[in-house]
Amino acid sequence: MNYRSFLKSEWLTLVRRKQDTINALLFFVMVILLFPLGVDPSKAFLEPASGGIVWCAVALSILMAVESMYKEDFNDGSLEQWLTSGLSLPYLVFLKVFVQWLVVIVPLLLVLPLLANMLFFPIEQLMVMISTLLLGTPALFFIGAIGSALTVSLRRGAVLMLLLILPLYIPVIIFATGAIRAAQSGMSYSGQLAILAAISLTALVLSPLMAALSIKASMN
């Protein structure tokens, strides 16, 4: 096994398992649809709330996607092979999270303009929302990867994992929606974007190391 063949097989696995990607996408669309239907379809409510709605939906569908990301590798013995391959485990984790991110986020970004329009989100500020998603979602994936690695050997680890990582999602959501709100009221939002990027970069450096440690501990 080398890094390239690992990346290729991860990619193939995700592409073959289309239903997981489609589930995350459908979930995202459904959560967003619930707000105008269930709360208030008026522009006065939806326009200021749109950033928060989109980000909550994104965070929830990412949680769904990362929750069981190593489950199958654990069950079929692939994790043992990662450990004994002599390759760097943090780097393998990084590659896996990167592929997952790509496969989940690209479809979300593709349907985003339509949903944003439905929420009366001003189309000229769509780039701000897309920037917050591009800069903020890597953090959600990398943080989720730690929680998923910690609970990989537990039979019912999903709830425990949610409790572990949801608090860590809060800062990302606060700064992302903060940036969108600032943009909507005509203020500068580069500060929030910079913090989002900083959180993602920190997660990118720390999470593979911590996830690798957790996987090692789980394999005991």
């Binding site: 063949s5 073959r16 092979q81 450990l83 090692k216």
Partner: protein, 202 residues
């Protein structure tokens, strides 16, 4: 190709239970070591401890004279480990699974390896459709595709038919003859191989 793996005074405990203490043995080129013991005696754990993902309480491990107790990378690069669950992805085909583990193998070598394990007709079959024995044979095909000096085979004969057992025994024999070493755990009798036995007693 010469290799010498020395295990000195291994002490392994799991869940407050002592699996072995002061266990020492060595594996060198051309040697087959069989780890013996009852169910639950810790045969798999011993292999995992050698490979470094179960911590040892005490002990020293040397590869070709070099102390690798704290960093097993040298050993990891030079071995194949096949465990109870052989790491075969059910969504990928037989060919893709082998390509993942052995990216440098040529198409000819790959076909030859599949022939050896009697899977030449299943090249493009998703592993999900294979039986347990066939999945194990996919994993075993890796032994034909990579040159590594030490093999750690944990119960490699489970679910294999008579033909598969004979082929694997022959492959182990040729690995030993070419100067490699094999560590194996199995309860089945070995017909053509004469291993050195390491007994695990609590």
């Amino acid at each position: 190709m010469s290799v010498n793996l020395q295990i000195n005074n291994f002490w392994i405990e799991r869940n407050e239970r002592q699996l072995c203490r002061d266990l020492s043995f060595s594996v060198s080129d051309g040697e087959l070591v069989r780890i013996a013991g009852d169910n639950g005696a810790g045969k798999s754990s011993l292999i995992k401890a050698i490979l470094g993902w179960i911590p040892i309480e005490e002990g020293l491990i040397r590869l070709n004279g070099e102390d690798i107790t704290h960093n097993r990378d040298l050993l990891l690069f030079d071995q194949i480990y096949l465990g109870h669950t052989p790491g075969i992805k059910s969504i990928l085909s037989v060919n893709e699974n082998l390509r993942m583990y052995c990216p440098n193998a040529s198409e000819v070598a790959l076909n030859e390896a599949l022939q050896q394990v009697n899977l030449e007709l299943f090249d493009d079959t998703p592993a999900a459709q294979l039986s347990a024995g066939q999945k194990r044979r996919v994993a075993l095909a890796r032994l034909w595709l990579t040159k590594k000096r030490i093999w750690f085979l944990d119960e490699p004969f489970t679910a294999l038919d008579a033909h598969g057992v004979a082929a694997l025994e022959a492959k182990i024999q040729s690995q030993l003859e070419s100067g490699g070493a094999v560590v194996i755990t199995t309860h089945q009798p070995l017909y053509h191989l004469s291993p050195k036995t390491v007994e695990l007693t609590p």
